[in-house]
Point group: C2
Chain length 311, copies 2
């Protein structure tokens, strides 16, 4: 089964407590597609400028990611993001954003792109997400969004949520979207907006999934060092959707395993700058980390030992 | 097997977004002993003043908690804490602390207290914790501490940690004690200070346990409302130690189940003010919540679906 991802391909300049890099390949759609490509065929719709060269194409071609729908704009530069992370790696500080070609991005879907069975609408303007949605008839549509759209484009976002099956956002976004400090109540409210499932990313605290009548929570894989958190959320979504597309399943058990694969891919992604770690990742490493998460969360059944305190 | 807890019995005046209460029974040793009493015999060493009356004794007697070692000081008042919580219920704001009888607390252990097989040193001055430790020969000694001692009594605390098996602290305390922002590295450093196991409480994000060569992590039971977080950490420790004492086990599997019981007891405790919820808790409710945590964390084994990308 094939996956379509629509979103940003960018260049990032990133500084973390462990080092810095200038103008490395980034963007939500890049991170998503590289992670998902381990499990399923992926086609990417996005836009880049003249600065997207052969060495950047290679990242996609070596993972057999289809970028024939990646638009190239002559005479302009790609989206550029510059940011840094302090020791609290959960929060990025944006130093500079140059939208460049991304400012006028209008996703153009080829006939092949419209045939995708799984669609991920990465974090772009909600109206654009919806326009993409209207051109596809997939099994599952997942979407991300961010505080900017929640605050500045709420009516459009709410319309888009009506046609999304799976919303994958972080904890602060969930509370803000629902206007509700209790995450449990926020989730219930969001499930009333359209999505049948909500996955909340919690960074070093793992992830939780809500649907009508079910709740699933996992801790994050324990890393000594988060080297560069950029792309964690999108590689999480990529692992998740990749697993679903590969197995064609969407029941609760499959969704749970998909979340584990999402966590696994995100945990590798943050170990190095950009997609460096994912580029040389092996299936053996993926399987080992899956087993580790299983082992570190497992516990046996039990009934409470009862103490008699009657007189 | 019997448990000894040494620590505070207090009166609390608490305000949360959901209401407020004046002068209700509190204190670490109270919360611990009520939670632990569901599983094992508990004996409490502490000190109170004249304001500790028959209705407060009843909380202990109805749970068959032995308070014959609870010292009564005539003409003085009990420890009193006044605090409030905002919508971020992880952080208490202390408005007033009156140590009263607790200022000169010197734990006095009867012969019966010294026979305890399990000992919990609640959050008191590290030197007092160590003096208690030297009078007992239990199977397991667990301890709590707080940022105040980490900052102002570090040498004494480090001496005490050398004679503690199980340290149960929150995440900020772990980072501060180890002087290390990475929790994984902080844990390794703390395990080098004496304890063979470290349990880190993370509030709404659950708990993690570290020991040489093992790591266990669980999410918290999902509550719509944390009504009053006071005593969450001590009821967690009470459930944990209670289970260990009841089963006389201390292997990894038992420790993991003990952490689940700790989480279960803490999750009930925060549903109402003081120990109101624990006082009417049933074993059926405990068993149900244990099963729910199991169900919400379970996922099946899997190998990664492999996609061939060779030419």
């Amino acid at each position: 089964m094939s996956i379509l991802v629509v979103g940003s391909v960018a260049f990032d300049s990133v500084k973390t407590p462990f080092g810095e890099r200038e103008h490395i390949l980034g963007g939500a759609a890049m991170y998503f597609s590289v992670a998902a490509s381990f499990f399923a065929d992926v086609r990417l719709v996005g836009v880049v400028g003249d600065d997207f060269g052969k060495e950047h194409e290679a990242v996609f071609s070596e993972r057999k990611i289809d970028i024939s729908d990646l638009e190239r704009v002559k005479g302009q530069r790609s989206f550029h993001w510059k940011g840094e992370y302090g020791f609290d790696l959960n929060v990025a500080r944006t130093l500079d954003t140059q939208l460049n070609v991304f400012a006028d991005f209008k996703p153009k879907l080829s006939e092949g792109a419209r045939q995708a069975d799984y669609v991920f609408l990465a974090n772009i303007q909600p109206r654009l997400q919806r326009e993409v949605r209207q051109q596809v008839r997939p099994r599952i549509v997942a979407a991300d969004t961010m505080n900017y759209w929640i605050e500045n484009d709420r009516p459009e976002l709410l319309e888009t949520l009506k046609v999304v099956d799976l919303l994958i956002i972080n904890e602060a976004e969930a509370r803000e979207l629902a206007e509700e400090p209790s995450l449990i109540r926020a989730a219930r409210r969001i499930l009333g907006m359209g999505p049948t499932r909500l996955v909340v990313k919690r960074g070093e605290y793992g992830a939780v999934m809500f649907s009508q009548g079910s709740y699933f929570a996992i801790p994050a894989y324990p890393l000594e060092e988060v080297f560069d958190p950029t792309g964690a959320g999108d590689s999480f979504a990529g692992g998740l959707m990749g697993y679903l597309a590969a197995t064609r399943a969407s029941d609760e058990a499959a969704m749970r395993r998909a979340i584990i694969y999402g966590s696994v891919m995100a945990s590798f992604n943050v170990e190095e700058f950009g997609c460096d770690r994912l580029r040389r990742l092996t299936y053996e490493e993926i399987d080992e980390r899956f087993k580790t998460i299983k082992a570190m969360t497992h516990f046996g059944d039990s009934d409470a030992p009862r103490r008699s305190i009657s007189a």
